[in-house]
């Protein structure tokens, strides 16, 4: 690759090497940053099956559509009720709002993680092509970060697109657009923060599992187990009364952490009996950030040491 192809001609007794005119690459080399950016975009695209065969598109598209259904349904229902002149009353009672949306689609986001995260890390390892990546300007850490970043960006789209539809629907339904925008504006910050935390935590953890589990089937089962079981265990223990064990279990269960950050960011009360743990809301945000940082660090370490 980078060795100069010299026109070596040696007239030995046994034979000679001729320059048969292979040309070396003369163009600009785009370098490490470009390689990392390309891999980021590639990861983002392949998370949705773009640039891959039809069979790879089925799962992400079905799950993406399912994540949109509640938003589209609610906008449709709001339109319908506005026709009957009951828009206001209905609007105040709809169960699907900015602050409940992340929780509403959390199962779908988890399934998306289970379906797509193993595609990004598993396929490279199964097909033994990591050496080809690392032979380029890309460093091992760049590879890991670009893949994780691409997947988290894909999850962010999955989380935010329905919220955008919800926002547009709510705003366009009213005649006084500036007022409607002003009404909904305070929700923008929490929506962005919650979506970023959810995408980071769920994406980061599922990437850790798939980095260590090249076989897709195990990675899928592992991700689902990681996201559902701690939540159920914490729910059972906390449901029996607040206790130290329950509090700690809540802080190691990814989905309960995200329920906690959601309640903290939107300043709503956690209504399920699940949460009478005496924790300040900021503790959940802390746990989420630790989870995101930890999972990125573990993945970096994994790829720094992986044999290619």
């Amino acid at each position: 690759m980078s060795e100069p192809v010299t026109a070596a001609t040696s007239a030995g007794a046994t034979g000679s090497i001729y320059d048969i005119g292979y040309r070396r690459y003369e163009g600009t080399r785009l370098g490490r940053g470009h390689a990392a950016r390309s891999l980021f975009v590639h990861s983002l695209r392949s998370s949705y099956g773009i640039g891959r065969g039809g069979r790879a598109k089925i799962a992400p598209i079905i799950l993406g559509v399912m994540a949109l259904i509640p938003a589209v349904g609610i906008v449709a229902a709001l339109t319908l009720f506005a026709q009957f002149g009951a828009g206001r009353e209905f609007d105040e009672q709809v169960p699907i709002r900015y602050d409940t949306y992340a929780g509403t689609i959390s199962t779908i986001v988890i399934l998306f993680c289970a379906a797509q995260a193993p595609e990004l890390f598993g396929r490279d390892q199964r097909h033994g092509v990591l050496a080809l990546y690392f032979a380029r300007a890309l460093r091992r850490s760049d590879y890991a970060l670009a893949r994780i970043g691409g997947f988290i960006a894909a999850l962010l789209i999955l989380e935010l697109l329905p919220q955008v539809i919800l926002f547009l629907g709510r705003v366009l339904l009213t005649s006084d657009i500036p007022e409607a925008v002003a009404d909904d504006l305070p929700s923008v910050g929490p929506v962005l923060a919650q979506s970023a935390l959810a995408a980071g935590l769920l994406g980061g953890l599922s990437m850790v599992v798939s980095a260590f589990t090249p076989r897709r089937a195990y990675a899928v089962a592992g991700i689902i187990a990681l996201f559902t079981i701690p939540n159920v265990v914490a729910g059972i223990v906390v449901g029996l009364g607040s206790s130290t064990i329950g509090t700690w279990l809540t802080l190691v269960s990814p989905t309960s952490i995200l329920d906690g950050t959601n309640a903290f960011l939107f300043d709503t009360r956690l209504d399920s009996d699940f949460f009478f743990v005496d924790l300040p809301g900021i503790a959940f945000v802390g746990a989420a950030l630790v989870g995101i940082g930890g999972s990125i660090a573990i993945t970096l370490r994994r790829f720094a040491r992986i044999a290619t």
């Binding site: 199962t107 779908i108 089937a217 195990y218 559902t228 265990v233 059972i236 009364g241 064990i245």
Partner: protein, 246 residues
């Protein structure tokens, strides 16, 4: 040895690979862990054993373990192409399917029935159940439900792994979306959910064990589902077309 037991032995050996078995044992140990945690947490008082076992075992661990064994029993052979060696031999497809379902179901049950009983007895041992309920009868009723559920889930997931190459994901979608989300939104959909059959069977044996909306008709539904899954799996395997990997 008959063909059936031959296939069963080979499948059993394939399924008991090191890593997978270890992971599944870990999963099976989780209800026991919950039992221990609840005891350690213990403020003695009435505890609904049925609800706890339902929450962890019937809703999460049972479908997950059955899913992994069910889709791996035949699915991993179909995926890596070695199933051709089995399919090109003069063996009835229904024999293959039955052997696979039997092994996957037995393995699931062998891990989860003891786990259910131990977890249940841990919960029952110290904390009293609701008044008027015999906790031991309750635990064993649920364990029998889990036993039947293991085979039923295994049959459905073996069939799924033949119908689609992504059986694992579709199965997860069924367990999480259909049995998880839709069961809450559309209660009628529970008539078509294995989870409800498991609860129904437990309720039939010990009426106070657990609440279920299908009740004793669960036995009928479960039998129909078991036969249907086996027949569909056999028919689909009969017309199975060998494809390349991804």
């Amino acid at each position: 040895m008959t063909i059936f037991s031959e296939i069963a032995t080979i499948t059993l050996r394939a399924l008991l690979g090191r890593r997978r078995t270890l992971l599944m044992l870990l999963l099976a140990a989780i209800p026991i862990l919950v039992g221990l945690l609840v005891r350690a947490n213990g403020r003695p008082g009435a505890v609904d054993i049925g609800a706890i076992l339902d929450g962890i075992m019937i809703r999460v661990v049972l479908p997950l373990v059955a899913l992994v064994f069910g889709t791996a029993a035949l699915g991993s052979e179909l995926e890596d192409g070695t199933a051709v060696h089995l399919l090109t031999k003069p063996i009835r497809r229904s024999t293959i399917v039955l052997a696979k379902i039997t092994v996957a179901g037995t393995l699931t049950a062998a891990m989860l029935v003891p786990s259910t009983i131990i977890a249940g007895l841990l919960l029952a041992g110290m904390l009293n159940a609701r008044p008027g309920v015999d906790p031991v009868a309750q635990v064993f009723a649920i364990a029998i439900g889990v036993l039947v559920g293991s085979y039923l889930y295994a049959a459905i997931f073996v069939a799924l792994s033949i119908v689609t190459s992504r059986g694992l994901l579709v199965g997860l979608g069924y367990a999480l979306i259909w049995e998880g989300i839709l069961a809450g939104l559309l209660p009628g959909s529970q008539v078509f959910s294995v989870r409800e059959y498991v609860r129904g069977i437990a309720e039939t044996i010990e009426p106070a064990a657990i609440e279920s909306i299908v009740g004793s008709t669960a036995v009928v539904y479960a039998s129909i589902a078991l036969v249907a899954a086996t027949v569909i799996a056999s028919l689909r395997l009969a017309v199975y077309e060998v494809r390349g990997g991804d």
